[in-house]
């Protein structure tokens, strides 16, 4: 199998100083669903914008469907589909008119256009509201229309940037059902960014965890979870618990003990059996415990393992956010005469 996407040493610097993407390399096999998982501002959207020739790179090379992204942006745009985070449909046009426009822009042959548009409207459950202005559409309908616009020309590679942002769980499930069906039917390669861990876990064949512009881990969801070495028991001692570390390490089955923010993360194959032993060890040393919790391997744990931070959707402004904000602020100051 050949690679549908290859990225080598991608770097994107904003304002000469903020590295939004910092040496990202990976490859996506044909027909795969590949996910970029990371918190807001990690560099996911910037990477996707580089791969779709929306942004030019500071350094690095990339090919998509065998085309050099940075030397062939025009040919590239014809072969890829792109679904943005935000709604980009024209609110003053109907769903059908938006699709017809996209069909013309992406070179769907004129005589195939009505059939293709009808098929997509039907497929994405928009047929009943096809002739309504998009401004009357619900959030879920707009997302489905974005997807229809993105695949109007049956692209070989589909890029999805946080495609289910703002959808309710039902809407998200419906959206992913359509994506997997379309992928089966057309054999598309899908590259997506998300900060929904469950989405990455359930949908992606392989994924990369990206943080501060760098890939910190990559593999299939189960590989990544396996790298945790089993369950994680988090022990929260009252006061200084460092004396507990050697005792915990000595317990049978424990593979690692890592202190983190006043807690101790204990890795072991089966945490439920270990917990009574941990309590026993702490009692023996006279160390009181404030709490103890067990987590089965999940991408939350994987994220924590590789970034040293809890995965939170809202982490406050990132360096990129601040840089973008400052640029806008300066622009608006310069623009005001």
């Amino acid at each position: 199998m050949t690679d549908a996407i290859v990225a080598e040493g991608l770097v994107k610097t904003f304002n000469g100083s903020v590295k939004a993407v910092d040496g990202v390399s990976f490859s996506v096999r044909e027909g795969e669903i590949y996910g970029f998982l990371g918190p807001n501002g990690a560099g996911k959207t910037t990477t996707l914008s580089l791969l779709t020739a929306v942004l030019g790179p500071t350094a690095g090379r990339a090919t998509v469907d065998g085309l050099d992204v940075f030397h062939n942006p025009h040919d590239l745009k014809q072969r890829i589909g792109l679904v943005f985070q935000e709604s980009t449909a024209d609110q003053d046009l109907t769903g059908r008119e938006n699709l017809e426009l996209a069909a013309a822009l992406f070179g769907v042959p004129l005589r195939d256009t009505p059939k293709r548009v009808d098929y997509l409207l039907e497929r994405l459950a928009l047929a009943d509201s096809a002739d309504r202005l998009v401004k009357t559409f619900s959030g879920g309908m707009r997302r489905r229309l974005e997807l229809a616009v993105g695949i109007v020309h049956s692209p070989r590679v589909l890029f999805l940037d946080e495609p289910t942002l703002g959808l309710d769980p039902q809407g998200r499930a419906g959206f992913w059902k359509i994506i997997s069906e379309l992928r089966k039917e057309h054999g598309m390669t899908v590259f997506l960014t998300t900060h929904y861990l469950d989405e990455a876990d359930g949908m992606c064949d392989r994924l990369a965890i990206i943080d501060h512009g760098k890939i910190v881990a990559a593999g299939t969801p189960s590989e990544l979870k396996d790298r945790l070495g089993g369950d994680v028991v988090t022990v929260r001692p009252i006061g200084d618990g460092s004396a507990l570390i050697p005792a915990l390490k000595a317990l049978p089955g424990v593979t690692a003990v890592t202190p983190q923010d006043g807690t101790l993360r204990v890795k072991c194959p089966s945490g439920d059996v270990l917990i009574p032993k941990i309590v026993g060890a702490a009692t023996g040393l006279g160390i009181a415990l404030a709490g103890i919790s067990l987590r089965r391997p999940s991408l939350d744990e994987v994220f924590l393992e590789f970034t040293g931070r809890e995965f939170r959707e809202d982490e406050g402004p990132t360096a990129t956010d601040r840089a973008v904000f400052m640029t806008r602020f300066q622009n608006s100051r310069q623009g005001r005469r």
């Binding site: 779709t52 942004l55 942006p73 980009t88 426009l101």
Partner: protein
């Protein structure tokens, strides 16, 4: 340039114009107010224009370049005014399309900058031409209603009518190019509208659209002679009131307009290409 993409984008622009009658009414408001208020109140010479041409004071002719009264002279000016103001929205729409994400979608498609710019340019120039004829019709109608109105004193030939359409079209193309260039370059609507105001009024006030030519100081006449609004307006006046008071034939003014429109088109194409290229 790809004709199908360009046509599809133009259709989109025209659909948007058709679905927003409020914008059309708004662009007509200003010229209507000028015609029914300003023009009525300012129509000096109207009592004299009732006299047979031979008995009118010669000064009146030099003042209004052959037009029978101020209103008739100024109606032609208002058409030039509409050619400028009705193109304003094309640039504003670009900025709103950026804010709503629509332009992002188009820019990510294989459509070239030429397709995107060309569609907006054509759609944005059709509307001013239509509005200009509405303004002309209204100016004539006001006269028929017994108010001050536009009195065309020479028969307009087919060639003359063609010249008028071309003049309005060239003026609209020029200003649509200018406002599109601003729209593609500027991010904030406030900045855009501030700049547009800073452009419009000086353009209008250094042209012969409003002032009686004979009353303008020589230096202002000098500046106004090169102003594209003057060039367009003079084409109308020559065809409405005869060419006795104009130094050049209508086609010379049209050549001047072609030069203006070509220059602005070239600048706008460069700026639009730059704005739509991937950000490095």
């Amino acid at each position: 340039m790809n004709v199908r993409r360009w046509a599809a984008l133009t259709r989109r622009e025209l659909l948007k114009i058709a679905r927003n009658p409020a914008a059309i009414v708004t662009s007509l408001m200003l010229p209507i107010l000028y015609l029914v208020l300003f023009g009525q109140g300012f129509n000096f010479g109207s009592s004299l224009s009732a006299l047979p041409p031979a008995q009118r004071p010669a000064a009146l002719h030099t003042l209004f370049l052959g037009a029978p009264d101020y209103f008739s002279y100024f109606s032609a000016g208002m058409v030039g005014f509409v050619g400028v103001t009705a193109t304003l929205f094309v640039g504003a729409n670009v900025i709103f399309d950026k804010l709503f994400g629509t332009l992002k979608r188009t820019a990510a498609s294989p459509a070239s900058a030429t397709d995107i710019f060309g569609a907006r340019l054509v759609a944005g120039s059709i509307q001013p031409v239509a509005l200009a004829f509405l303004v002309l019709g209204l100016a004539i109608l006001l006269g028929d209603l017994g108010l001050s109105g536009l009195h065309i004193t020479v028969g307009v030939s087919v060639l003359g009518a063609f010249e008028i359409v071309v003049a309005i079209l060239l003026l609209s193309l020029m200003f649509a190019s200018l406002f599109l260039a601003l729209g593609f370059t500027i991010e904030q609507p406030q900045t855009y509208f501030a700049l547009v105001n800073a452009i419009n009024l000086p353009v209008l006030l250094t042209s012969a659209a409003l002032y009686p030519w004979g009353a303008m100081p020589a230096w202002l006449q000098g500046v106004a002679s090169y102003n594209p609004v003057t060039l367009a307006v003079e084409v109308l006046r020559i065809n409405f009131f005869g060419d006795a008071f104009y130094p050049y034939a209508a086609w010379v003014y049209l050549l001047g307009l072609i030069a203006w429109a070509a220059a602005m088109f070239a600048i706008a194409t460069v700026l639009t290409n730059r704005a739509l290229a991937p950000k490095v």
